[in-house]
Amino acid sequence: MPGRSSSEPQGGKIGKIRPDSVVCDSSSLISLTDSGLLGALMLVEQRMKGDLLVTAGVIGESITNPMKVPEYSFSAVRLKRALDSGAFGIVKFSDNTFDRILNAANNMFYTSRPFHLVNHGEAEMLAAAIDNNLTTLLMDERTTRALIEAPMELKNHLENEFRIRINVNQDMFAEFKEMTRGLQVIRSAEIVALANERGYFKKYGDLSSQAYEAALHAIKFNGCSIGFDEIKELTRL
C-alpha cells in the first residue's frame, strides 16, 4: 500500500508538519479542479496557518490514475502542477492506525455480518490526520464525514435504505469515536466560502455575488455533498 509507513509518520515534501495543516481527500481536489476552482484553494492555501497535505493514495486517485484517462487528464495535470509547485505536502501514516480505523469503521455496524462501509482511501486520510495530530480534513465524500460527525444518523439512513435493522458493536463504535475525536471536516464548499471572504470573486466586479453562488453550485454538481439550502445559507453568511 503506497503511502504507508511503518516508521514514525512524517511529511514528505515539507518536512515538519505544522499543527493547523489540513489533510485533503481526493473527492475535494477532484470537485474543486473539475469546477475550475483550484485557484480558490490556492488562494486559501497562501493564507493558511498550516499546509495542505495529501497521502500517496490521494495523489494516485487524483493525479497519477486520471492522468492516463484523456477525459480527466487536464484536471490531473492542473493538480500535478500545483503539487510540483509545493502547494501540497505529502503526509504519511502508520499501518497500525490505518488497520485500526478500517477495523473499527467496518465492524461498528452489523446485521448477520459486519457492514463494510469504508475502504483504504478513506482510512488512509483518517490515519494520516490522527498520526500527525491534525484536526481538519478537507473532504467532500459524505459517508466518512457522517461517520465522524453523526454515526447514528448514518445508521438510521442505512436502516431506511436497506429496510433492515442494524446493530451496533459498542466496542468498535467507541473505538472509532475515540480515534476520530476532535476531527473536523470541511468541504470544498467551505474552501470556496473562505476564498470569497478573501476577495477571490472580486475579479467578477458587479457579478461577484453571482459568481460566488454559481461557484458553490458548480462544486455541488461536481460531487461536493452540499444541499441547495446550504448553498443559499452560505451565500447569506
Binding site: S31, M48, E71, R145, E161, I186, L194, N222
Partner: protein
C-alpha cells in the same frame, strides 16, 4: 399498512441469488426496462448486505439490458435470443448455488453484451461504464463510502462524483452540522 406475515410454505426453496437472476431473466423476456431497473437496484442492495460478486454482475447486466431493450439499434432477434439462452444457462448454476460457475457465465454474458456496442459505438463512455457509475452512485447514496462503492463496481471516482452531484442525494441525507458551524471550523485554518 402492516406487512402480512408469509406462511412458512411460501418461502422459496431456491437460493436468493437464483430468485434475483430469475427475476432478471423474466424482465428481459418481457423486454420490461422498468422491471430490469428494479432488478438492478435490488441486486445492488444485495451486493452490500450479502457481499457476493454475482450480485454486482447481475445488477450491471440488468442495467445494460434495460438500456438495450429501449434502444432500437440493439434490437437484433438473434442477439436477443442468445442473451436469453445465456441467462437460462446462468440460472442453472444459480439454482445449484454454484457461485464460481455462475460468476463465470455472467462474465461471459457481460462480455458478449459489451461487444454489441462495439458494432455501433456512439459515445466515448460505453453502457458498461455508465452501468458501473450508476450502481456505484446508488451504493454511495445508500450510505456506503465512495471508495468502497468504487471498489465494488470498478467505477471511476470522477464519474461517480459528477453523477451524484446531479442528484438530490446531499439534500435528502440532511445535515450533520449547520453551514455556519462548518464555516466557523473552516475559518480556523486561515490566518
Amino acid at each position: 399498512m402492516a406487512p402480512t406475515p408469509q406462511p412458512a410454505s411460501a418461502k422459496s426453496a431456491f437460493p436468493p441469488i437464483f430468485e434475483c437472476l430469475d427475476r432478471l431473466k423474466k424482465g428481459f423476456d418481457k423486454r420490461d426496462a422498468h422491471e430490469l431497473r428494479e432488478v438492478m437496484s435490488h441486486c445492488a442492495g444485495k451486493l452490500i448486505t450479502e457481499e457476493q460478486h454475482a450480485y454486482f454482475l447481475m445488477a450491471l447486466i440488468a442495467y445494460i439490458l434495460s438500456k438495450i431493450t429501449q434502444k432500437p439499434r440493439y434490437k437484433d432477434p438473434k442477439v436477443f435470443k442468445n442473451i436469453e439462452i445465456s441467462l437460462g444457462n446462468a440460472l442453472v448454476h444459480a439454482k445449484l448455488n454454484n457461485t464460481s460457475a455462475l460468476n463465470q457465465s455472467l462474465d461471459v454474458l457481460l462480455a458478449s453484451i459489451t461487444e454489441l456496442e462495439k458494432v455501433d459505438r456512439r459515445f466515448v463512455t460505453n453502457v458498461v461504464e455508465k452501468g458501473r457509475t450508476k450502481i456505484a452512485a446508488l451504493l454511495y447514496a445508500q450510505g456506503i463510502s465512495l471508495n468502497r462503492a468504487m471498489t465494488l463496481t470498478g467505477a471511476r471516482k470522477q464519474e461517480v462524483l459528477s453523477y451524484t452531484g446531479h442528484t438530490m442525494m446531499a439534500d435528502r441525507f440532511g445535515r450533520t452540522l449547520s453551514a455556519l458551524e462548518r464555516l466557523k471550523n473552516a475559518r480556523k485554518i486561515v490566518k
